[in-house]
């Protein structure tokens, strides 16, 4: 993204908001959005969860899920060795089946980015072109409790190290105390920090940490706020707070993305992260995306799963579909 585009972005936010993005204007805008009825939202999500995806549809869905995974390791104990192992798994998910597609990206801490890029080698690239991207969490992940300067430096370093995507966290404390202007400003500045020297930009995923926002109204407002401030993706969770991704939360965020597309024609991505461990659950998300925003969103630039253990369950299901019987945990590889 170029600096002119960034300029347009903030101008557009001002036009939509009807004023500078300060606390008062943002409050007026975000609190003017239609409310969310929790019972209704959850029952709609449950309804979507009853879709029965069988045979050819299931085969397609399993391959698609793999292509949409951000294979993740975000541990204090991460080492270059662990990252190399993760990358190997990302490139060859099923050692027994070379036709198995690759995942979209690996997601690591900022200091692990060089090792990930090194391990990917020639395979490092855009998932649309068969490559695997590198996503880095930044901005004092997962709590976000650091000064803006540190958050920006954290981001800039990850980008300089070659990260294609930045997963930032919002300041939940500021959001919950109504300092929407501060949250907006931080996202906008991190977005600036995603710029590379050649004028392009790393893609920015904004983590709302929905488990800490607790109400659907808050999640809806935070989604709009993150998109207005320039996020390319809105992401549910860090995976470090419970509950992480849930189907109703993801449905709500998809509805915001759909409405944003109606207003601006722009396509924003959604990434549920944390807690999606089974193929069965992952298929429910695919259905929810397809029936809420449309099938067009089932591509790596518009939808991702943040997950680690999901991949092996999908591989087991994929093997079952091909051979007719279940294998077992020893027939898929650990990363």
């Amino acid at each position: 993204m170029t600096s002119t585009q960034l300029q347009t972005l903030s101008e557009r936010a001002v036009a939509l908001l009807g004023g500078e993005p300060d606390d008062t204007t943002l409050r007026r805008y975000l609190h003017g959005l239609p409310g969310v009825d929790a019972v209704g939202l959850e029952s709609r999500a449950a309804g979507l969860g009853t879709r029965s995806i069988k045979t050819t549809s299931k085969a397609w869905a399993l391959d698609k899920i793999i292509q949409l995974i951000d294979l993740t390791t975000l541990e204090g104990a991460d080492t270059p060795g662990k990252v190399r192992s993760l990358v190997a798994k990302a490139l060859t998910p099923d050692a027994a089946d070379p036709s198995c597609p690759r995942v979209a990206a690996v997601c690591v801490y900022g200091d692990m980015v060089p090792y990930a890029i090194d391990a990917l080698g020639a395979a490092h690239g855009d998932p649309d072109e068969g490559g695997v991207s590198v996503a880095a969490v930044a901005t004092a992940f997962p709590s976000g409790r650091a000064s803006l300067g540190i958050k920006l430096a954290d981001t800039a370093e990850a980008v300089a190290n070659g990260a294609d995507e930045i997963d930032m966290v919002i300041d939940r404390g500021a959001f919950l105390s109504g300092r929407y202007g501060l949250v907006f400003d931080q996202i906008a500045q991190v977005k600036q920090a995603c710029r590379r020297e050649d004028g392009t930009s790393a893609s920015l995923k904004v983590i709302l940490e929905t488990g800490e926002l607790t109400t659907y109204d808050n999640i809806k407002r935070a989604s709009w706020l993150a998109i207005l401030a320039g996020g390319d993706f809105i992401k549910t969770s860090t995976g470090k707070v419970q509950p992480a991704a849930t189907l109703p939360t993801t449905l709500l965020m998809l509805e915001v993305v759909r409405d944003w597309h109606r207003v601006t024609g722009e396509k924003i991505g959604v990434k549920p992260a944390g807690g999606i461990r089974t193929s069965k659950d992952a298929i429910k998300y695919l259905v929810t995306v397809a029936e809420t925003v449309g099938e067009e969103w089932l591509q790596p630039h518009l939808f991702r799963y943040g997950a680690s253990s999901l991949l092996n369950d999908v591989l087991l299901q994929r093997q079952k579909l091909a051979t007719g019987h279940y294998s077992g945990a020893d027939y898929v590889t650990i990363d």
Binding site: P34, D37, G40, R44, T50, I53, E291
Partner: protein, 499 residues
């Protein structure tokens, strides 16, 4: 391939062991009917399902006599706790055979399997569980100590929720100590006959429940039978009116649950995405063949365009087709007769000047189908805003103020249900207070629970089903004089009993 063209996921029919022919269920066993038997077909493809016996007056007489014997000799003498045991047993058997019942219901009625599986059958079990709990607690029903059953109940049910309406009728009647003769709808007798098998399996004493299949004349014979103490009917207002005339002056107790033209009121501060779901569930649930369907959408003018746009987008994602496919949202219309009525009223809607929009979906070659349809620009004086269409057709009207919304919502001869959509709690309470409708849903629609009474105002009928209120329709206070039976079997009552 596009993902949204989900591969077929049909529920297997193999679980259903149907006979070629079904008789009448009288005195605990199936027997041949004296009337001309008829076929029940699948409305999805018009294929033959089974041949069904038809009960004439003599058959109805035999069924009522069996019910009377069972009442006198067994059921009225049994303790409430023991009656409860039978009801609990029936509820458990319904759960055990849930899949089979769901397949039968979808096959015979045309409703999507996801509805029969997730709504109808679980509610049937819930109704029996709920009233099973009441059977030994009648002293607390509100009529004082030791209230008495009425005797033999004649019950006539519709085709839109065949098994659920059966449960609504039979469960409270048996819990209160009555015996039953039930007539299922002509087009949907199948699940009631499977239910008869469940009664056999539960060892329910013979004659406590009798099921007589047939057309309208069978129902008429049952309603006017002199040895019936209580008539319960769910169906059209026209037939309900006939029944009220028939039983007038006979001393029979009556409850009628008739038509509706419910207003679903969407205020400008509604939770919009959930309101859209509620509108869809309100009028397209069971193809709109629901007496309490939210068939009149009243939208505040300030959000009208947005609501209609979002509604159309949502309706375009509904999947119409094979009722037995687990991904089907919209199934078949129950009968050609009903389809003709929906088509006729839709044609009238266009002639009256309302704008018609139908979701684009492939309509199968055989069977009875109608695409989800929305009429905008509907005025209160249009027939499609007045008449019950009983199909997947929504009429959209607008209002400016809460007072106007209430006035328009109440401006109907019916009064069965209504819906309110707003984020403002105080408005929900204020509006609900002034709506003349038996059920008012707030930020939801078409939700049912056995503990909640259901019934209508005005031409939507009288009496309540469900909850403690539903029990009262089958009980009288201990002090109330019993019906005195003449030698002809005609019940006569003292004037006091009627008051």
């Amino acid at each position: 391939m596009t993902f949204l063209e989900y591969a077929p996921a049909p529920e297997s029919r193999a679980i259903l062991q149907l006979r070629d022919e079904y008789g009448l269920f009288i005195d605990g066993e199936f027997r041949a009917g004296s009337g001309a038997s008829f076929a029940t077909i699948s409305p999805a493809d018009e294929s033959h399902i089974a041949t069904i016996a038809s009960a004439d007056e003599a058959d109805v007489d035999a069924a009522v006599a069996a019910a009377r014997r069972a009442y006198d000799k067994v059921w009225s003498r049994m303790s409430g706790r023991d009656r409860g045991k039978y009801l609990f047993r029936i509820a458990r058997l319904v759960q055990e055979r849930a899949r089979e019942l769901a397949v039968a219901e979808s096959l015979d009625n045309g409703k999507p399997i996801k509805e029969s599986r997730d709504v109808d059958v679980p509610l049937v079990a819930a109704w029996f569980f709920y009233y099973a709990g009441w059977a030994d607690k009648l002293d607390y029903a509100g009529l004082g100590a030791a209230p008495k059953a009425l005797g033999v109940a004649g019950q006539v049910i519709p085709w839109n929720f065949p098994l659920l309406m059966l449960a609504w009728k039979i469960a409270p009647a048996l819990a209160a100590g009555n015996t039953v003769v039930l007539k299922p709808a002509e087009t949907t007798p199948l699940s009631a006959l499977l239910f008869a098998e469940i009664l056999q399996q539960a060892d329910l004493p013979p004659g406590v429940v009798n099921i007589v299949t047939g057309a309208g004349s069978t129902g008429a014979a049952l309603v006017r039978h002199p040895d019936v103490d209580k008539v319960a009917f769910t169906g059209s207002t026209a037939v309900g009116r006939e029944i009220a005339k028939t039983v007038a002056g006979t001393g029979k107790k009556v409850t009628l649950e008739l038509g509706g033209k419910a207003a679903n009121i969407v205020f400008e501060d509604a939770p919009i995405d959930q309101a859209i779901e509620g509108i869809v569930n309100g009028i397209f649930f069971n193809q709109g063949q629901v007496c309490c369907a939210g068939s009149r959408l009243l939208v505040q003018e300030s959000v009208h365009d947005e609501v209609v746009d979002r509604l159309k987008a949502r309706l375009s994602t509904l999947r119409l087709g094979d009722p037995l496919d687990k991904n089907t949202d919209i199934g078949a219309i129950n009968s050609r007769e009903q389809l003709d009525r929906i088509r006729e009223l839709s044609r009238i809607g266009e002639e009256e000047g309302a704008q018609r929009w139908s979701a684009e979906c492939a309509i199968p070659d055989r069977g009875f189908w109608f695409a989800p349809t929305v009429f905008t620009g509907v005025q209160a004086s249009h027939r499609i805003a007045r008449d019950e269409i009983f199909g997947p057709v929504l009429s959209v009207l607008t209002f400016r103020t809460p007072a106007e919304a209430i006035a328009k919502a109440n401006n109907t001869p019916y009064g069965l249900s209504a819906g309110i959509w707003t984020e403002k709690g105080s408005r929900i309470l204020a509006v609900a207070d002034r709506l003349r409708a038996g059920v008012v849903w707030a930020n939801t629609f078409n939700r049912f629970d056995p503990s909640s009474p259901f019934g209508g105002y005005k031409e939507s009928g009288y009496g309540r089903e469900g909850g403690r209120h539903g029990l009262l329709a089958y009980l009288k206070a201990a002090g109330a004089p019993a019906a005195v039976r003449s030698r002809r079997g005609e019940p006569t009552r003292s004037k006091k009993a009627d008051s």
